[in-house]
Symmetry: C2
Subunit: 464 residues, 2 copies
């Protein structure tokens, strides 16, 4: 199993046993209490962010100016307003070099990770938003790109030809194999999408094994952007969001996966496998939790097969807690989780029960593809990736307006994308007013962790 391989090569030396890992940081925290807790930050912030929490303050951190990120990418982050003692967001930004493996070459050999023109070079950005602690997000931020590299290398012959071969080794057992592949309209990009899907699954397994071995818990969302061979692949599992901002248009490159958006999938699973609810939950959705005196009445409801609403005569069993309950940001799966896709949460159970949440979660991302060949990218066109802390405050259009006016007013600043990321985070974090964080109009600002990448897309190949 390749997850075993991962474990052997990376995990013991790279995460839990590492002096900088979440586990050892937490141990450190326990020993040092009541000193300010340390929390692990993205590697590229080193030297800027202390990883120490400043009580009552929420400074915004950007990478150091003398160590710019690839493509002059801007990044900024801020910790939550004491919702958690850690910043549960994590971020990664790196190149991924995909090596064509020689047949018979052993996996045991060391990988070449440095960029090289002999290899297929990809550019990778990812955001992870942890829940139940930062541990899953830390492991994912350290390993998802290795999983992607590995999965791409496993199918490299399928992504270097315009039409992927039926057989990976290129042999042609049936003379019309190319025709079968063409009839199914299978293209290079479909194999990259498959590799990304499999990489998320692999990373989820690694997290499960690692968390179990080290007695850690929690999960995280994952939003990853990969630029490869002239196309941008955006893979999303959770409620972060990626948006392409152009002069005239705003193109969403991800959808959110929450108990609300995935209601039908989740309810259908409960219908097919009712044991998963242990007779403690009802799979039906109602506008509110039902009460004893609703019994016998006809009330609004939805089942798994319905996009619309019907009326159902309430039975006693309908008084159980609903599988999906609440509305908007407050919607919870099994009263527990606010997202329906992501990595980790293998041990998560509904409080005081043996009911597992994991069977209802999916670790598979939805992958959207943006082909640069189909679009004339202009100078100020950027891709913005951000965790839900930003999107709780800014709509896509509000964000796009800030992006356009900021870049227009800061034409010459070489750090403009970094400053723009800072400006976006600053807007959503707001200002402190007494014990509250408020926006300009006095409405509440985001109390969540906020992380933002601003990735300039113009002349993207010149920096490589």
């Amino acid at each position: 199993m390749s997850s075993v391989w991962f474990k052997k090569h990376f995990l013991r030396s790279g995460s839990a046993a590492n002096p900088g890992s979440a586990e050892s940081l937490r141990r450190g925290v326990e020993q040092q209490l009541p000193a300010a807790p340390l929390y692990r930050r993205p590697k590229f912030l080193r030297g800027v962010c202390s990883g120490e929490r400043l009580p009552g303050r929420r400074p915004i951190y950007c990478p150091p100016r003398d160590k710019p990120l690839q493509w002059r990418t801007g990044y900024a982050e801020v910790i939550n307003a004491e919702k958690s003692e850690f910043n549960e967001d994590q971020a990664t930004c790196c190149q991924i070099s995909v090596r064509r493996r020689e047949i018979g070459m052993e996996e045991e050999q060391d990988w070449l990770i440095l960029c090289s023109n002999q290899y297929l070079v990809g550019y990778y950005w990812a955001l992870f938003d942890g829940h139940g602690g930062p541990d899953a997000a830390i492991i994912a931020s350290n390993y998802l790109h290795y999983c992607i590299k590995q999965k791409l290398e496993e199918v490299v012959e399928g992504i270097t030809e315009a039409q992927p071969p039926m057989h990976l080794n290129g042999c042609c057992i049936c003379p019309s194999d190319p025709q079968f592949v063409e009839e199914k309209q299978i293209q290079q990009e479909d194999v990259v999408i498959g590799a990304l899907e499999n990489a998320f699954q692999e990373c989820d397994e690694v997290i499960g094994q690692e968390m179990e071995a080290t007695n850690q818990s929690g999960g995280c969302t994952a939003l990853a952007a990969l630029y490869l061979q002239g196309k941008l692949y955006v893979a999303n599992a959770g409620d972060s969001r990626a948006i392409l901002v152009q002069k005239q248009s705003v193109v969403p490159l991800s959808s959110e996966f929450t108990p609300e958006t995935e209601r039908q999938r989740i309810q259908q699973l409960a219908f097919l496998c009712p044991k998963l609810l242990a007779e403690e939950f009802t799979r039906f959705e109602f506008p509110r939790r039902l009460k004893g005196n609703d019994v016998g009445q006809k009330v609004l409801y939805r089942d798994y097969s319905m996009a619309g609403w019907g009326y159902k005569t309430v039975e006693k069993a309908d008084l159980k807690y609903p599988l999906i309950h609440g509305h908007g940001k407050q919607t919870r799966l099994l009263g527990t989780l606010a997202v329906s896709r992501g990595l980790g949460d293998h041990q998560l159970k509904v409080i005081d029960t043996d009911i597992e949440v994991k069977p209802f979660l999916s670790c598979i991302p939805q992958v959207k593809v943006f082909d640069f060949a189909s679009c004339n990218i202009k100078e100020d066109d950027v891709l913005v990736l951000a965790t839900d802390g930003l999107w709780d405050i800014l709509s896509n259009d509000e964000m796009a307006q800030i992006v356009r006016s900021f870049l227009d007013e800061n034409r010459t600043d070489p750090y403009r994308f970094s400053e723009l990321a800072r400006c976006l985070v600053h807007t959503a974090r707001g200002k402190k007013n007494g014990h509250q964080w408020i926006l300009d109009g006095n409405s509440p600002a985001s109390y969540d962790d906020i992380s933002v990448f601003v990735i300039p897309l113009y002349k993207r190949d010149e920096d490589c």
Copy 2:
């Protein structure tokens, strides 16, 4: 159960035991052989279409000019080129009056079906494309509108107020009930959508019971359009299609449901309930059926969680027949069916096995809503509903071009929508050349049954 109620009120006197029903027609056919088979046609064609097959000929039938359909709707149909001895398409066009039931009023009382201003009046058009015989399509064409009427009447209090009440009887057990409904953004139209979804399910049950009782078999697709309270609801289960054609735009109002478009849902069910495949099928998709010498090779594949393609090392179990196999129109579910949603097929088994197809089928339609208030409908704007016989030959844009130029050239003809329907059917049927049916460019025409409604949308309320 309301399906029992249906049976009692309609089925025994309205379908199988009726002199015009499929069953009695078939009995008649058996007695009269080798005379030309009779097949049941839509009621509104009476006097025009003999219901008798003319060997080697495919005349196009339209409703009689002295009995125009509601809204001056055009309709035309043609039988297949001897693919089946029956025309498996069926059509219905009628008003649906939805009565507000008095509380305590018994279901036993007769329904008022005539249009009346005291009632909510809906306009209904539907196409059904049968497979394995015309029986399911005939029952559906006779009863789906009753199911819709019944389901709408059951929730009429929910569709006559802008915001549906939490409790159907209007009582307010919790003072903030209206707020809960508002937070969930539940509107009138959601309750109509729910009623349509439930009506399809009800009709499917009726068909199942009726087919079992009369030893009939087969299934059908269903595409239904309902105009109610200023909105058009298009409910689709199968591979028929509804398109709104306007001067400047072509708006699809349905999506097709086939083993290809519903691959992931079908594969996931097989993953969760592997017994359904009885170890005779593999749930994986491959570009072609695998052979013995593919074993051990890495070949292209997709599983339920994948939108992309990966490579899988072939095992012996992968040589089984695939759950979904073929490409394009040839794609089959369990080697048997070309559609994945529809009504009927309760007894359908994979040939020579005990494997049931029905668990993989869905009878739930997808409902799309078009709100006339949001769009300025012009004189020649029409809704076109057609079975796959038309869409196999014409793309949406080609169809729209014919619609626009035909209506432009026939401004004054009072039968222009009927003539347009005839023109569309004629285009897809082509001409006979020897034993073949060909298009103008000599390519093959449609050999299938073809049925088309052309529904003018301008000043739609004037004819009511």
